[in-house]
């Protein structure tokens, strides 16, 4: 079996996250929770934020973050009525349950470790986990998260319902046939966290000193091609 999870681009974490063990070590805690509210804020420094409130929290590993957690991810409506979307950041939907890795690192874009926010879907009476792309999780070990071939979500994502529960494709049960059960996924995470334990405290606030719409560049150092 081949486990691969390194992604083209993921944020936000203290270091490059290549494996499940990396993600666990970067996390303060791994929780299961329900999205109870999503609202939007704007601040000239912090920028547009989508503030996701998580309740009904069960701690799977690491620090207990309490009864409620708010995740203020960069992106959302701007004062000029535009919408900012930042690729690669974890996205949440109302009334959905997730397993989320909460970072112990300083963060600016999102307090979620990389894109380690997995939605729990009930498919034909089975609780399974799906990735941000909607692909069912079929395996997990210290090296990575293994996903199934086809997303349970339609290719056309409705902008109107971007933050609402998503309607899965008709043959979701077939596509999720090999998915790990919720219990197996959680059990494996608990086992893995025994050797790659979450540590530190969840940073509830973003790191100060950054302005949302200014990005420093990296001067090119290498010679001509």
């Amino acid at each position: 079996m081949c486990f691969v999870v390194t992604s083209p681009a993921r944020a936000d974490s203290g270091a490059l996250i290549r494996t499940t063990s990396d993600a666990l070590r970067d996390a303060a805690s791994v929780i299961e929770a329900r999205v109870t509210d999503i609202r939007f804020t704007f601040d000239p420094v912090a920028g547009p934020r989508t503030v996701v409130t998580l309740g009904d929290i069960h701690t799977i590993a690491g620090e207990d973050p309490g009864r409620e957690v708010q995740l203020a991810t960069l992106g959302g409506p701007l004062p000029n009525r535009r919408l900012l979307v930042v690729s690669e950041l974890a996205h949440f939907r109302r009334d959905s349950r997730y397993i989320v890795f909460l970072t112990s690192s300083d963060w600016f874009f999102s307090p979620v470790v990389a894109d380690y926010a997995f939605r729990i879907e009930n498919v034909a009476g089975r609780e399974v986990l799906v990735t941000q792309s909607g692909n069912p999780i079929v395996g997990v070990n210290e090296f990575g998260i293994q996903v199934g071939g086809l997303s349970l979500e339609p290719g056309a994502r409705q902008m109107r319902t971007r933050f609402d529960r998503i309607a899965l494709v008709e043959d979701a049960a077939v596509r999720a046939e090999r998915a790990l059960s919720h219990a197996d996924f959680v059990g494996t995470l608990k086992r893995l966290s025994a050797t790659a334990a979450p540590r530190g405290s969840f940073k509830r606030s973003m790191v100060p000193g950054r302005v949302w719409n200014v990005m420093r560049v990296d001067p090119g150092q290498e010679g001509p091609r």
């Binding site: 083209p8 681009a9 701007l78 930042v86 086809l150 949302w212 990005m215």
Partner: protein
């Protein structure tokens, strides 16, 4: 006839098409959300200097997306900035290289702005700004080999430009995968390229009704479940007798990025030269195989090796080998597979 005899017999064991249509995008009701006109890109020349490997990656991303058959040319280079920072809310479509830390230890990040945040029956939202950042992680510039590489910056440029166009992640045989590695195309030209799901997504959002042809061979295939990209073959080496007759079970992957079906001739050949993309010893041929528009297909073959001189051989697979179809780009027609073949003298039984 002699030439025909040199071509070893082979058997088709299976044919499997990779799932097509695995691209994702946003819609407002039934209207896809994208750009109304081409993106005017502004290159940050401090982080993407002229004549650098970085600018090669930037140009490759523009070129690859602009060359999608049947898709409007959506990227235009419109100037440069030279500052040490870039604003992401200034109406310009900036492209820059940053440190990984600057973008939350991601490999890349794209800020996309839509002209309205709501969607209802009367609205028609579009993308109006996209700023692309690629982390200074890994080696910039062309990828020299067709091996499996986890996320070269060149691939990240291509991936983030897909987001800038309005495409979302999809875990198919494509560059928009969020789980690596990305597949690559074979040949003597560019290996970091787009794949049928990417090109179909681009065409869907920005179609231009022109017939174009492009088939390519890739040393990589999609494993659907579990979902990952893998080499078509193992590395081997497989041992074969110089007298010939050895059977070789291999996979080959072909993609059709064009917008009509292409019937053509495939060949397999071997050579001690790793760059023998056009002049190896032919070991197999399949005439009139058809690859459908917007699809990628992995086939199983059993190839019977002909007599060969002892030595180590590289293994190649090529499409459109008799040039039955005109293609603007034929540099991607032959892939060198990962497999090595070791040919040795064998004792007579």
């Amino acid at each position: 006839m002699k030439a025909a005899l040199r071509i070893a017999a082979f058997v088709i064991l299976a044919l499997r098409a990779v799932d097509a249509g695995a691209y994702a995008f946003e819609v407002c009701d039934h209207k896809p959300v994208g750009w109304t006109q081409a993106l005017q890109l502004v290159q940050n020349a401090l982080s993407i200097p002229a004549n650098s490997a970085r600018v090669s990656d930037y140009v490759n991303a523009i070129t690859r997306w602009n060359n999608v058959p049947g898709m409007r040319q959506m990227f235009k280079h419109a100037g440069i900035t030279t500052g040490s920072s870039v604003a992401v809310d200034d109406g310009r479509n900036d492209v820059a290289v940053t440190t990984a830390a600057e973008i939350g230890n991601a490999r890349g990040l794209t800020f996309t702005q839509f002209d309205q945040f709501w969607c209802d029956a009367f609205s028609d939202p579009h993308i109006v700004e996209a700023d692309v950042f690629v982390a200074n992680v890994g080696t910039f510039g062309p990828v020299a080999l067709e091996g499996l590489i986890i996320l070269s910056p060149r691939a990240v440029f291509l991936h983030e430009f897909g987001h800038a166009l309005g495409l979302l992640h999809s875990e198919g045989y494509d560059i928009m995968r969020s789980t690596g590695p990305s597949p690559m195309v074979g040949g003597t030209g560019e290996h970091v390229d787009l794949f049928p799901d990417d090109t179909e997504g681009g065409r869907f959002l920005y179609s231009q009704p022109i017939l174009r042809t492009n088939v390519f061979s890739s040393p990589h295939r999609l494993i659907s479940n579990p979902n990952t990209i893998a080499s078509n073959t193992g590395v081997g080496p497989v041992i074969a007798c110089s007298s010939g007759g050895g059977k070789l079970n291999v996979m080959a992957t072909v993609g059709n990025n064009g917008n009509f079906d292409m019937k053509q001739t495939e060949r397999w050949f071997v050579s001690p030269n790793p760059k023998a993309y056009s002049n190896g010893t032919i070991v197999g041929q399949w005439k009139n195989s058809t690859y459908h528009a917007h699809s990628a297909t992995t086939v199983w073959r059993t190839i019977t090796l002909p007599p060969l001189m002892p030595g180590m051989y590289f293994f190649f697979h090529g499409v459109n080998q008799l040039h039955e179809n005109y293609e603007p780009d034929e540099a991607d027609n032959v892939a060198r597979e990962a497999l090595f073949i070791k040919v040795v003298h064998c004792r007579a039984p």
